[in-house]
Amino acid sequence: MINQNLQLNSKGRLKHFLTIEGLSAKILNEILDTAESFVSMSQQQVQKFPLLRGKTIVNLFFENSTRTRTTFELAATRLSADVINMDIATSATSKGESLLDTINTLEAMHVDMFVVRHPLSGAAHFIAQHTSPHISIINAGDGQHAHPTQAMLDVFTIRQHHKNFSQLKIAIVGDILHSRVARSQIQALNTLGAKEVRVIAPKTLLPAHIESLGVKAYHDMKQGLNDIDVIIMLRLQKERMNSAFLASENEYFNCFGLTEKKLKLAKKNVLVMHPGPINRGVEIASSVADGHKSLILQQVSNGIAVRMAIMSMAMQIKGTSL
């Protein structure tokens, strides 16, 4: 299991944010509460907080991502930090520079925090283990392992509608096998005490022993969506079609695509979520994505407040004390 001490300092406070695993419900709730305070404050049209003034944050993206990077950038800017974006997807490491050299080089520029996205599982842990103690690492997605800030903004969005997780049944639908988002969501929902977490996917897209993560697995939407409060749809990478994971987009949509008709299988007041970007007509019908049950855009806005909360907490600043 993940060593808790790597993420927490000696006082048990957040130092790095690498994975949901090993974090207590107390810390997760603290993140959610802090994020809440940022949301209510931004509703008062306060744009910037001086919490991270003088701090330098580097968005270190070894893999392309416009949205996640943009929300991290906005979050950091609203906290008054200086932000540098580094897209290393195709530059330094492909020239043979090792991950460690890249980190060391940037570290020499007196950085306070790295926000890291990397195509390999474990990259954020590796970086956290090899940087100076004063630097915080936020995992913005590593391989198929974890995407904890996404999971936190998802549970934050759910909490805005349902205060009590212990009554909730949530279904995550789609490519669980390759999804770091799903792994982090499952851990967050289970830590917060959700009544039931289900995954629904064709067998090709479910990893071995998935039940060990604390979920029930279904291969059929009819059974899987029965009595569900929240449906989280995952993005289906189109290249999965070419590697024998699936037969065709059409067949996938027919079986697992979320349509108005399938939505009726769940509870009446069901909520629909998606970490984005969505593939309309592949995993979700436009009418559902844009419908009144959809929280997809709300998730995006919440992403900023949640990331502000995590960044300020990792820098040992209490957002709620403002």
């Binding site: 299991m1 390999l120 599982s121 391989g143 990893p207 071995a208």
Partner: protein, 428 residues
């Protein structure tokens, strides 16, 4: 030094059914007598082995020395020193050196280096296919005459079954054993961990057991067809063991080894993203580990090897999937093997046999036991001595072991190779 008496030790030689206190007599590099001093024998040197176990030196079926080609990781000089300190008196070198062992020249280069470092018992394994590319047969006859003890495609894929069939026929015709590390690459593709609990948990690309067991099944079918002598290297899972067990039951003469770490570690032991646990075949489930132990006890698996793969630290610095696979395991071979005895999985004589007489049989070598007239390859160890792995105690250039800083029990005191004392533990 011409004559040696090793006295007062507990002499264990499973192949000759010996387990008794007494003396071992050596002259001109050979075992000349046990227990009873030959007439007129005068020892030039006496080694007191009181409280120690005296057993045949270990024969390692898979040990990378990284030379030629990767001397930043290790050298023949550094690793043979480590081998001597581990009681290993013969070792087989897989052909994936750089250049590959697919010509007599490379074979001879290695043999020459072995002589130079006074560790003559290095047995190169020749490449099964040219450059290990899996398309053209290597000149196996020439490799054999140059000193290759077997042929293998090491960890390189051999996905064309026609090539494998022809290679097996060709090898069979020249009495060469094929060392086969079963791996169906289309199934293990890009994997770095056992497709199980931990891979799912940490999002690591998985390797299913079937990637190995399917390759075992294919190879067994072809062994039957071609009559080739097959030795399976580094079996890692229950399903492979079952296949081998069945074929042995029906009279097929195959053998198998297991890497020492597979008998002690499972996927559950992997510290999150700690690249020292990155090894191929991957650490499997607890159930697989238990089955491998049983397979060793019931003889389905014949031998234990170190599967020693020393790395420089750079090779292990990075995100888990991008690090190089392999454990530096020569020096933990004996202590971890002794743990099997302590855990009541195997008897001490049986464990020692799986490190000596069994691999000797697989290789067709006249060593691995104290038969009179055999080379005096001897390991003398203290089964009780505890030691902590640290820079001072460790001789291999590869420090990549998940057991680093662990305290282990069992330490080699002396190692003799062809009657030469090649290692003595320094007094601390």
């Amino acid at each position: 030094m011409k004559t040696i008496e090793i006295k007062n030790g507990r002499i264990i030689d499973h192949a000759n059914k010996i387990d008794q206190l007494g003396s071992l007599y050596i002259a001109r590099g050979k075992i000349i007598a046990l227990f009873n001093k030959p007439k007129g024998f005068k020892a030039d040197k006496i080694i007191n082995a009181k409280d120690y176990i005296v057993c045949p030196g270990f024969i390692d079926l898979s040990c990378r020395l990284r030379e030629p080609g990767q001397t930043q990781k290790a050298t023949i000089a550094s690793e043979t020193k480590a081998a001597a300190s581990a009681g290993v008196t013969s070792l087989c070198l897989p052909p994936d050196t750089q250049p590959v062992i697919d010509t007599p020249a490379v074979t001879e280069l290695i043999k020459d280096k072995a002589e130079k470092v006074n560790y003559p018992n290095i047995y190169p394994i020749g490449a099964l296919t040219q450059g290990l590319r899996g398309d053209k047969l290597s000149s196996m006859v020439a490799l054999k005459s140059a000193g290759c003890i077997a042929v293998s495609n090491a960890n390189a894929p051999l996905d064309n079954l026609v090539i494998l069939r022809r290679a097996m026929e060709y090898a069979a015709g020249h009495n060469l054993t094929i060392f086969y590390r079963p791996d169906e690459v289309s199934l293990s593709h890009n994997g770095c961990a056992h497709e199980g609990l931990m891979a799912t948990h940490y999002g690591l690309p998985g390797i299913p057991e079937a990637a190995e067991s399917i390759a075992v099944a294919q190879c067994l079918e072809l062994a039957e067809l071609t009559g080739c002598q097959i030795h399976f290297s580094q079996i890692s899972c229950k399903r492979s063991v079952i296949k081998i067990q069945q074929s042995k039951k029906y009279g097929l003469n195959v053998s198998a080894d297991v890497a020492i770490h597979q008998l002690h570690l499972s996927e559950n032991d992997i510290e999150p993203f700690n690249s020292f646990y990155h090894v191929l075949p991957p650490l499997r489930s607890k159930d697989d580990k238990k089955y491998l132990q049983e397979a060793l006890a019931n003889g389905t698996i014949n031998a234990i090897c170190s599967d020693h793969q020393p790395h420089d630290l750079d090779a292990k610095l990075g995100a888990f999937p991008e690090t190089e696979a392999g454990i530096s395991s020569l020096e933990t071979l004996l202590p971890l093997s002794l743990r099997l005895v302590e855990n009541h999985i195997l008897s001490l004589p049986h464990v020692l046999a799986s490190l000596s007489s069994e691999p000797a049989m697989i290789l067709g070598l006249k060593t691995g036991s104290f038969t009179i007239g055999y080379d005096a390859d001897v390991c003398i160890f203290d089964p009780q001595k505890k030691w902590k792995i640290n820079h001072k105690n460790w001789l291999s250039s590869g420090k990549n072991t998940p057991f680093w800083k662990h305290t282990l029990k069992g330490r080699v005191i002396h190692t003799l190779q062809k009657g030469n004392l090649i290692y003595t533990l320094e007094k601390t």
